[in-house]
Amino acid sequence: MNWLPLFVAVPLGIAFLTPVLAKLWKGFPDIVGNLATGFLCLLSLWYLRFGQTTSVYYVGGWEPLNGMPLGICMVLDGLTVLMLLVVNVIGFLSTLYSISYMEHYTDKGKYYTLFLLMTTGLNGIVISGDLFNIFVFFEITAISSYALVAFGVEAEELEASFKYQVLGGLASSFILLGIALFYHLTGTLNLADASKVLTGKSASPVLYFIGVLFFIGFGLKGAFMPFHAWLPDAHPSAPAPISAMLSGVMIKVLGVYAMCRVFFNVIGMTPVILTTLMVLGTVSMVLGVFLAVGQWDLKRLLAYHSISQMGYIVLGIGLGTPLGILGGLFHLMNHTVFKSLLFLNAGSLEFATGTRNLKRMGGLKDKMPITHFTTLIASFSIAGLPPFNGFWSKLLIVMACIQAGHPVYAVWAILGSLLTLASFMKVMRYAFGGEGKTVWEHVREVPSWMCLAMIVLVVLSTTMGLLLIPSLKAAVLDPAVRVLSDGLSYAANVLGG
């Protein structure tokens, strides 16, 4: 029995249940929302054992006829399993955190509706096997995240949401235009079938144009450097658990995953695309961190670091060698963990003190020991200090750069890492160090649900380096790397299996 559709069905069903249940008793949305995401989290862990081979689920039992796909199909392979794990683990921890954090917002029922719709969209993108569904799930994710960014309906949040919606709408149109031309070229929207059709054709100018359109579309959604303008506004404006989801998961699924799937598995990688990815990755990495150092708004600083860390992921994957892809995907997992943790820490600070301005904080070390400790570990992790997880993936990326004969990129990667360390020393110094200010006399540690979510993430970021142990690596990372490095054999795997 294949349970793959549950990743979409469960959050979609529960999403519309929570506002109804909220009318009966206001505790219901928390319980139901957490049960749903907790179930998805366990399901995604259980699915780790199926990542070694490619399996296909035909919705409604419409199996392909003479090799022609008829209906919708869902594809499960190593990369899918990895992304499902990333989405659902962080989703569960974010909802745990929301139990206490969202108390000072109104209407938790609708919050969980939007949150679960976003999870539906993210899971859907990851398991879809055709561009039609990928587009629809893209839009589900996008619309729910637009609404979540504006959830507080203050002036700044509305402004950020507006900016995000205009650029997001533009990105969707570019992607749809790309899909239209893609259909024109191949006559199908099924990824595996299209890939098979494309291998028989020589590269045409239309294909390059489609590539550019997808690049702009996914680049805008994933906030790569020339398209990053909306991110530092949108991510800090959302409530903290949503910032964790947006920065930790969404830009990766919408940007990196979609781009990898289309370019590596369907269109086929060419040196031109790889070089573009590497250059964009390096530019994002360096400029993002430069912009981050000067920020005083804590969540805005973290948002710029997201751009920078996305640069590492894109650089690693853009190298195109198995080691580079391994580094990129491992950094993707690690960044999800420590960036979500940092956004939750920033949320805790805002929850306790009511401000995000680093200049106004200070001396919170003794008042909030757990937040202090978790922020410290997360800062070490993002700056790439051993033995935390960020170190291992950055090391892999730097090694892959040198191995592939691009030492210049390696130097930039190390420089970016040093600047990251500097900017997080600033965060620790201004938020927690120094004399205790009298205004913060009344500040207490945040409620236990929020602490629990942060502590789980700390444990993850301390221990995730162990994923490089060969037996664990073979179970989690290697299947995903194989999907990307084997490239066009995706079509044969899906249609044959």
């Binding site: 402004e159 919606q165 533009l170 000067g294 920020q295």
Partner: protein
């Protein structure tokens, strides 16, 4: 061929509007123009001259020339999605006016850095 070019021109008009116009609602309209130009192009690409309705019934002969329903289904979905995004954007635009007392995007600038 000329209709395809017209759809692309429509797309570019919308893009111009999004990039140049300063009024929140004009940006909204420009985004809608972009969406509809893409939908139009997609529907045109999916059109097959002389094809019949793609419904398989008892009397359908083998080898009948069908129109592929996928592009039409996708365009319909995209139109509905477009309705959703437009409504949400309009709602946010009205809320923005309540907060800033203006529709000019140059004056809606509290976020910096």
């Amino acid at each position: 061929m000329i209709v395809f070019v017209m759809a692309i021109v429509l797309f570019l008009i919308g893009l111009y509007g999004v990039l140049v116009k300063r009024n929140v609602f004009k940006i909204l309209i420009a985004l809608s123009i972009i969406e509809y130009s893409v939908n139009l192009l997609f529907a045109l690409i999916g059109y097959r001259r002389g094809g019949t309705v793609p419904i398989l019934t008892e009397g359908t002969k083998a080898g009948t020339f069908f129109v592929d329903p996928i592009p039409q289904a996708l365009v319909l979905t995209a139109i509905v999605i477009g309705l959703g995004t437009t409504a949400l954007l309009a709602a946010v635009a009205v809320r923005l006016y309540e907060k800033y007392d203006t529709y000019d995007v140059r004056k809606i600038r509290k976020l910096r850095g």
